[in-house]
């Protein structure tokens, strides 16, 4: 048993729902108890879908147990077919139905439905939502896709976008446009928007563009083996990654078409003088493996940040994320326990967090600005406006999104200049761009003489402590940490005013 309050991922059958809801003409019959329909509202509320997810639940109750839950399943399956007339059906069990062992796949196969029935094995007590999506899509492709002659013109499939995916809608559009500019036709985009008959003709593409390894990698590998379709390895998030992605596409397709990059503003925005203050800002990055890997590269190479720590919650990506952490010389954090993430952030005292909805809340609590880079996300991260993460427009969007929570350069300069000013003191709280940071609490003043505050084993002398308070609160954590590190390195047990400024000189860049 594991004590949990907040989960980064839902159970695997929610992943299967994300595939089914993304597709058209497919129906999911889920053997599940009354109540599991709660997952519908993720799609109708968070993603604001205007139709019910194509899922029929058997909704068995206590009185059904021990009698005929298998019959209940067959009835639900038949009624779902009669009502919705799908091109194909996927069937599976939720966590509770897994325990009663009715075997939905076997039951559905004996019914003789006139459409393909695809059974899903999703181990609810070992795996999670992303696995569920990846496995479901793989099974659908495995059952439906047929070997075919390749299209006359160079074409590709786009693989991985699902319902409830972070910015999948706009990423697909951005990448489709990019491929179009390169003269490459998109054969099928799947699962999002595809029907089972679209899946059947995936084999005629020349290669695959894998946008989200979390939800499409198994299918991409299967297509590589079965249809001789190579797939792209670069995820085009960030300017550098997008350029690499274009090179990879050129190599796969032989395209020599020029790309119009006049819409790319991120590179100049990043070079302009107002961005100088971003240099060396310490960021902590957490989310799903793919978004974390791409964000780390953008943070270091395109924004000039210092990556202070990184990690992911989906253990399927532990290996590449560990390798990345090694490259960045930081400790990797592979965990699905948000309390552990919170502890890591507290210890590192970054100036900014790039994370999920949970990290946004952690940032709020600790007074650290945060931008959302990965699922799980809430309703505000399914925006009405066009906001891809991928491609050149994605790079523009990312620049704006990440910079927004930070205090602007000029503003920060003014705050330094007027730090004793009545409007810029502690009690006034952060500027409006500080987001939702709480007003800093009044630090309790110990009545004991001389050694005033105490942190760890190093004692802050009263004068040093008072000087520290003059530093604007949004850099104070960093100053305190640097000074303490400096003191520890020098073997000092007390921090005086001199120690504070020596440390400042030591860390000056």
């Amino acid at each position: 048993m594991k004590l949990t309050v907040w989960t980064y991922e839902g159970p695997p059958h929610v992943g299967a729902m994300r595939v089914a809801t993304g597709m058209k003409g497919l129906h999911y019959v889920l053997h599940a108890p009354q109540g599991d329909t709660y997952a519908d509202l993720l799609f109708t509320m968070i993603e604001r879908r205007d139709h019910r997810p194509p899922v029929t639940y058997t909704t068995f109750q206590a009185r059904d147990l021990g009698s005929d839950t298998a019959g209940l399943f067959k009835k639900a399956c038949q009624e779902a077919y009669d009502r919705f007339k799908p091109e194909a059906i996927i069937v599976g069990a939720s966590c509770t139905a897994e325990l009663i062992q009715d075997d939905p796949g076997g039951l559905a196969e004996t019914m003789g439905l006139p459409v393909p029935v695809i059974p899903l094995e999703l181990p609810s007590y070992q795996r999670k939502e992303n696995f569920g999506a990846d496995e479901t899509f793989f099974q659908i492709v495995r059952h439906l896709a047929k070997p075919m002659d390749k299209t006359a013109r160079v074409s590709c499939n786009i693989i991985g976008p699902t319902a409830l995916g972070f910015r999948h809608r706009d990423d697909v559009q951005e990448i489709t446009n990019l491929l179009y500019e390169l003269g490459i036709e998109v054969n099928v985009t799947a699962p999002m928007g595809a029907t089972p008959s679209d899946i059947a003709r995936m084999g005629q593409a020349h290669f695959n563009v894998l946008l989200y390894p979390e939800t499409g990698e198994q299918a991409a590998r299967y297509c590589e083996r079965t249809f001789d379709q190579p797939f792209t390895k670069t995820i085009p998030i960030g300017t550098g990654a997008t350029l690499d992605f274009i090179e990879e596409i050129r190599a796969l397709s032989g395209s020599t078409a020029q790309i119009d990059d006049r819409g790319l503003r991120q590179t100049w925005w990043s070079r302009s003088v107002d961005s100088t203050y971003l240099t060396g800002k310490r960021v902590f990055i957490f989310g799903d493996g793919t978004h974390v890997q791409t964000a780390a590269r953008i943070a270091r190479d395109e924004m000039g940040f210092e990556v202070a720590g990184l990690g992911c919650y989906n253990r399927e990506f532990a290996r590449p994320v560990r390798a990345l952490a090694k490259e960045f010389v930081v400790e990797p954090l592979i965990t699905d326990d948000y309390l552990e993430v919170e502890r890591a952030i507290e210890a590192l005292q970054p100036e900014m967090i790039l994370g999920t909805q949970m990290e946004r809340h952690i940032g709020k609590r600790l007074g650290i600005p945060c931008a959302v880079i990965s699922a799980p996300v809430h309703v505000q991260d399914f925006p009405a406006r066009y906001s891809p993460q991928m491609g050149f427009e994605g790079a523009n969007v990312i620049f704006d999104t990440w910079i927004h929570p930070l205090v602007m350069g000029l503003e920060e300069h003014l705050l330094h200049m007027f730090r004793e000013d009545f409007e810029f003191n502690d009690a006034a709280g952060p500027s409006h761009h500080g987001g939702h940071a709480p007003k800093p609490a009044v630090e309790p003043r110990e009545e004991a003489p001389a050694p005033a505050a105490r942190t760890g084993e190093v004692i802050w002398l009263d004068t040093a402590e008072r000087e520290l308070k003059k530093i604007p609160f949004f850099v104070r954590g960093k100053a305190r940490r640097n000074t303490e590190t400096f003191a520890a390195e020098k073997g000092l047990h007390e921090i005086s005013l001199d120690t504070l400024y020596e440390a400042k000189a030591h860390f000056a860049r």
Binding site: M1, K2, L3, T4, V5, W6, T7, E9, G10, P11, H13, V14, P33, Q34, G35, D36, T37, Y38, A39, D40, L41, L42, T44, M45, R48, R49, D50, H51, R52, T56, Y57, T58, T59, F60, Q61, A62, D64, L65, A76, E79, R83, S94, C95, T96, L99, I100, P123, S124, Y125, Q126, K128, H361, K364, R365, H378
Partner: protein
């Protein structure tokens, strides 16, 4: 005292034929009750023993609340827990130990059963007994089921309160017990009205803390403030307490009838009753009249959700001028819902249980002006051009008693007002 109301209908819905259907049900399970119960019982922690699905449900339902260091969590069953049951008990003890060490302020711990824990027949009641002994006297450990296979949405609160009844101390005092978790502001209004009526002493279940709990016995009378408390009703009667049946305190009529039933039991004079209730009744009627303007002569269709449907249909038809087309309830309990059914004029289809696709067909055919349903159905129905009011809000928002009567009408009026604003501006834009 009822002179300001339309007389009760000659034929209410109590004996109306009930459409009972079974099939796919689009409802929450009882675990969701934790979301509001933990706010009410301030020294309690709710530990669900279940799967990742249960944790995900609580997270989806709790929204942002999950970050205010909530007093609930899930012990997620893992593969190894399913292998052998003895192991599961040891694991549970370890988890509870870890939890109580981290939260020393907790005085009551509820082990909440889920579908997975019930299907593997994990004996949580024995675990609760064992843990109670281990942590006595500081912490009391109780057990109830919030599983989807046994409970629907608000029935989770029922199961929780019913689990508390057997451990309440015995008492011979003649006391009134009001049962059902109400928002604090509503509870305070209720207590002050009852005090003015000379009714007392009054206790509430659930109490805000374990120290404020009351005794139960032959002389206890109880009133329900919520219509979903069938099990608790039965548990209280088993301990000798007597139920005061009444319509539920929604709107002017419901609140007045509810208070009247208690006043009659405690011998309050008609003058005192009028003196206490006249002013708030006037306020409530004025507020309802104003807020319910868009509701007049509109039709309404209820999907089953919380068991609040029948009393709300009674309020909306009798006090806001609406007509009900179908009133769906997850369960109907004659002893509890009867008084409201008596007041609901015959006409609407009363239904119990659900086959959601068939019910959607009926709803589409009826084209109601307003549909009350869950969040899984609301946006899809809006996209089909039907106005909806999502039902969950009715459980979280203060809606009971006089001062909230206007707000209650406004909750239903707002979607209709919004629709007319947006369609007017769309017409202007099109011109």
């Amino acid at each position: 005292m009822t002179d300001q109301f339309a007389p009760p209908p000659a034929l209410g819905c109590r004996s109306a034929p009930v459409l009972k259907q079974r099939g796919q049900r689009e409802v929450f399970c009882g675990l969701t009750g934790i979301i509001w119960l933990h706010r009410k019982i301030q020294d309690a922690f709710f530990l669900v023993v279940g799967s990742r699905t249960c944790a995900h449900l609580l997270q989806s339902a709790a929204g942002v609340m999950i970050f205010a260091e909530p007093r609930f969590g899930t012990a997620i069953l893992e593969e190894s827990d399913l292998a052998g049951l003895n192991d599961a008990h040891a694991e549970l003890d370890r988890t509870v130990n870890e939890l109580l060490t981290r939260r020393p302020d907790i005085r009551q711990l509820f082990l909440v059963g889920s579908c997975p824990s019930e299907v593997i027949k994990l004996d949580l009641s024995r675990a609760a007994e064992r843990l109670t002994q281990q942590f006595a006297p500081k912490v009391r450990v109780l057990e109830y089921s919030g599983s989807g296979i046994e409970t629907t949405f608000t029935q989770g609160e029922d199961a929780c309160l019913a689990a508390m009844v057997p451990v309440l101390p015995a008492s011979d005092a003649r006391e009134l017990l009001v049962v059902g978790a109400l928002p604090d502001v509503v509870e305070d209004q209720m207590l002050s009205l009852l005090e003015d009526l000379g009714v007392g002493p009054v206790r509430v279940l659930p109490a805000r803390s374990i120290d404020a709990e009351m005794g139960i016995g032959e002389n206890t009378v109880f009133a329900l403030s919520q219509p979903f408390l069938g099990e608790t009703h039965a548990a209280l009667e088993r301990r000798g307490a007597r139920h005061l049946a009444a319509p539920f305190p929604f709107g002017d009529e419901g609140t007045t009838a509810w208070l009247a039933a208690i006043a009659a039991e405690f011998g309050t004079s008609d003058e005192t009753f009028a003196q206490v209730t006249d002013a708030p009744r006037r306020r409530a009627r004025a507020a309802i009249a104003q807020a319910s303007e868009p509701l007049r002569d509109k039709s309404i269709f209820f999907f089953p959700d919380s068991q609040l449907e029948v009393p709300l249909a009674r309020f909306l038809t009798r006090e806001c001028g609406m007509s009900a087309l179908e009133v769906g309830m997850p369960y109907i309990h004659d002893g509890i819902h009867g008084p409201d059914l008596d007041l609901l004029p015959q006409g609407p289809q009363i239904s119990e249980g659900q086959d959601v696709d068939l019910q959607l067909d009926r709803c589409r055919a009826a084209r109601p002006d307003l549909t009350v349903c869950g969040l899984g159905l609301a946006n899809p129905l809006e996209a089909e051009g039907l106005s909806t009011k999502w039902a969950i809000e009715l459980v979280f928002t203060p809606v009971h008693f006089y001062e909230q009567a206007g707000d209650l009408a406004a909750l239903f009026a707002r979607p209709l007002r919004r629709k007319s604003i947006l369609s007017t501006s769309a017409e202007v834009a099109a011109e």
